[in-house]
Subunit: 206 residues, 2 copies
DNA sequence: GAAACATCATATCAAATCGATATATCGAAC
DNA sequence: GTTCGATATATCGATTTGATATGATGTTTC
């Protein structure tokens, strides 16, 4: 229903065209997903999205006159590679995908979806794409996440105090609890930023 | 090959017998896995493990004279439920699984496996079961994880400084980096504990 | 006291995802 | 000069997920 990979792919395509292999690296480098998603996920997902009319294959191995280069820049000797890439030379032929108008609609509705509470991976992905959300939707999402985390924190802290567990299991619990605390601090920072921005543009009080 | 769910199930069964539903709750409460694994994973996994001879179904709805109760104790009014459970009454009939000698062998070899670097979820699971590892294997595992995290930290920090990213994406990156830092602190604490223990029992220096 | 709802418990299905592998080109290293 | 690593797409089987079915029993509420 709410496939996170779809959100990631569409989110990246909102910005500019990408081919499959590039999406894989970008998910890691721009969307902060710690493990590379597998090719067995990415290519079927692109086919699915194409079938549904949310993306369209633009060209294979396009000559690309636009100066957007190939992606993972910030490389030391990226200039040479970029030169080749702009000429469409080298490598196996690429299948470049572009998001369709319907895809853009689908993306924002997926991103804002009111369903399912998300785990930390999903939530991070959503936040990495939060610029496409309205301020009020951002706040809603953040508050929902905050509630989930508060509940989870209590569970973890209880677990960390469970004397039936051995040292290692308790240590894992305690560490997990600290992770949740860190998440909560982050959420609160983001929430206060959202609120001060809201106040700037739409002053309610006074 | 190195199915994490198998490790979790066998790890729980090392301690005592469990039925499927109970394993699900225990993975959360004792092994600190934050989201409940689905039934579509747990029951097929148990069948698979049974087929391979690593676990055996002991009884369905056993009268259970042992006082081990039903699991998630620490409940407020657990006494009543425990009473019923000890009598084998109530609920749909349970299929209780027990680990076999071959299963125990498989478990330790899976837990100690030298292959695949694990993500944070996998690593936490391993650590929650670390009491079944030898001290030197624990140190090996911890050091390997430490190396991975150092690498990951550098990537995240680079990402957080990437000015091509918008505020939200950068914030996610920075937060992820903090998470990795927290993980590293934890690893280092565990490592120093391991080393001081090692010194206590097998003094090398002097 | 019965109707409604939550919890316990196993099971199965389609769809999604993963890990591995195949294939091929190119640049770099040795 | 050839092995290695990165780029690039594709597919396969096995695993995992999310949803749903089924049913018993315990708890709450009117």
């Amino acid at each position: 229903m709410f496939h996170m990979l779809d959100i990631a792919i569409l989110g990246l395509l909102m910005d500019r065209d990408h081919h499959g292999y590039e999406i894989r690296t970008q998910v890691r480098d721009r969307l902060a997903v710690s493990s590379n998603i597998s090719f067995g996920s990415i290519y079927p997902a692109l086919n699915r999205l194409e079938r549904q009319g949310f993306v369209a294959a633009v060209v294979a191995n396009e000559p690309r006159g636009n100066a957007l280069s190939t992606g993972s820049l910030s490389g030391e000797r990226a200039s040479l590679r970029a030169l080749r890439a702009t000429q469409g030379l080298g490598r196996r032929s690429r299948k470049v995908y572009r998001i369709t108008p319907r895809g853009r609609e689908e993306f924002v509705s997926l991103l804002a979806d009111p369903a399912t509470l998300d785990d930390s991976r999903n939530f991070s992905l959503r936040m990495a794409l939060a610029k496409y959300l309205t301020p009020s939707l951002r706040v809603t999402l953040l508050e929902r996440r905050r509630t989930d985390l508060m509940k989870r924190l209590a569970e973890m802290q209880t677990g960390a105090r469970n004397e039936q567990l051995d040292t290692y299991a308790r240590s894992v619990m305690a560490h997990a609890a600290k992770g949740v605390e860190l998440d909560l601090e982050w959420i609160d920072t983001l929430l206060s930023t959202e609120r001060s921005n809201q106040q700037t543009f739409a002053p309610e009080a006074k």
